[in-house]
């Protein structure tokens, strides 16, 4: 217990003192996670919506696969991205291994299946409700995709936030493709792993507390936004 209280104290001090290294790590965590979550939304949500409104042979199998990908171990994703971005790999020419863009790519690939699977469910529920109305208005399924995405935006916002949370809390893949390079690719999770390795457990836990606080703040903001928008849009 004393360790945990000590960590709370350290966490508070880190935030209040605004140590530049700490601030840089937090800022990098937030910016790469936001970038990867936005990119994952741009790709994952349309995929989920497209599967929701379409019917083709093998659709059920694809949905099973999408749901299964939710459980994809992040280390596997990290390894695949590492092999792709490695100088010896097909995208080696880019030279972005061990840089923040590599982290963005890995996190994005981790988050896309999650966004696709969850948005598929959300959009399909809406599609069941809207289908006859939209068909009656002569809306073709492909045209229904943006309509449904827009109309389920509040629910999808929560989905996107879950994606951001996943990106933000990711450590395995980020460690592999980012390399946890001090001042370059060290994010909150890999810093926690490093501090744990150095036996600085209270400091590691304090970073964890800060990470949790950021995630909680994000979710609280989302909850407020939902409350504010619900009576406005029904």
């Amino acid at each position: 217990m004393t360790d945990i209280f000590a960590s709370l104290g350290i966490a508070l001090r880190l935030v209040l003192e605004g140590d530049p290294e700490f601030v840089r790590i937090v800022a990098l965590s937030i910016s790469v996670s936001l970038a990867s979550a936005l990119l994952a939304c741009a790709i994952g949500l349309p995929i989920g919506a497209a599967v929701a409104v379409s019917s083709f042979p093998g659709r059920e199998g694809l949905i099973v696969l999408m749901n299964a990908l939710l459980g994809l171990p992040s280390v596997v994703v990290g390894l695949v991205v590492y092999l792709l971005l490695s100088r010896a790999g097909p995208l080696g020419e880019l030279g972005i291994l061990f840089t923040p863009p590599a982290i963005v790519i890995a996190q994005m690939l981790l988050v896309i299946p999650m966004l696709a699977a969850l948005s598929r469910q959300t959009v399909e529920d809406a599609w069941n409700e809207y289908r006859e109305q939209l068909t009656s208005l002569n809306v073709r399924p492909w045209r229904a995709i943006p309509t449904l995405l827009l109309d389920t935006r509040v629910a999808l916002f929560t989905v996107a936030l879950a994606g951001l949370g996943r990106a933000f809390s990711e450590v395995g893949a980020v460690m592999i493709v980012g390399g946890n390079v001090d001042g370059v690719t060290r994010v909150m999770t890999t810093a926690i792993a490093l501090k744990t390795a150095e036996g600085e457990l209270p400091l590691a836990l304090a970073l964890g507390v800060v990470l949790l606080a950021i995630v909680v703040t994000l979710n609280a903001a989302a909850a407020l936004l939902r409350q504010w928008s619900a009576p406005r849009h029904g």
Partner: protein, 273 residues
Amino acid sequence: MNRKRSSRLAALLAASLLAIAGVAVAKDFITVASTTSTEHSGLFKHLLPAFTKDTGIDVHVVAVGTGQALDMGRRCDADVEFVHDKVAERKFLDQGYGVKRFDVMYNDFVLIGPKSDPAHVKGLELEAALRKIHDAKPPFVSRADKSGTWAAEVRAWKHAGIDIAKQKGPWYKETGSGMGPALNTAQAMDAYILADRGTWLSFKNRGDLAILVQGDPELFNQYGVMLVNPEKCPHVKKELGQKFVDWLISPEGQHTIAAYKIHGEQLFFPNAR
């Protein structure tokens, strides 16, 4: 979503990606594959600012086990190797991946264990200590991650006349983790463990663990540095990387290494020739 909004979103995404990428390419830098022991001991935090100040070159250290560090070199993902497993380094050189290897510094391994020392190894030589551990079978944590420390441990068991791969039992815990995490594990289960002195000295979560065996010549731990071969890996930053190698073995670099101390105790001993 209308077209204007999605194109604005795309522009925003592109801008944020570029901004993030910009952080990484702002300055001349080299990528050094090194070991968890050098990173976890805090040496780089002391050493690299001095080098950057002298040369203006940033050093990006990716700290992994020696085995993985050398593999990074084989895949051309590092410019310089800074590791501590002479046998594996020789192999790397023989395969043509390294240019020339230089001794940089040494420290030593230490056998750590609970202060109560249930196997009664305190003060023994390493081989005798390992035999006693093998007889008494108290928990023993092995890195089992192809790191330099693990390679040293396996060699030590062999010299003690024990084929650890065949004779290990439930008491022998292979964690497959870096030095720090393995020490955390050992601390939690009051286990014996072979560690490098640098990591041990900077390690905070010692609990009841203490050094039980040290000073045996077999515990000698040599670190070497080499440029990854530009003929195998055209992307290697030859000049910048060579500058780092040269600086490490220069009087300047050697002096900086010697100056790194924790609680007044020197962690690494420069020995470049």
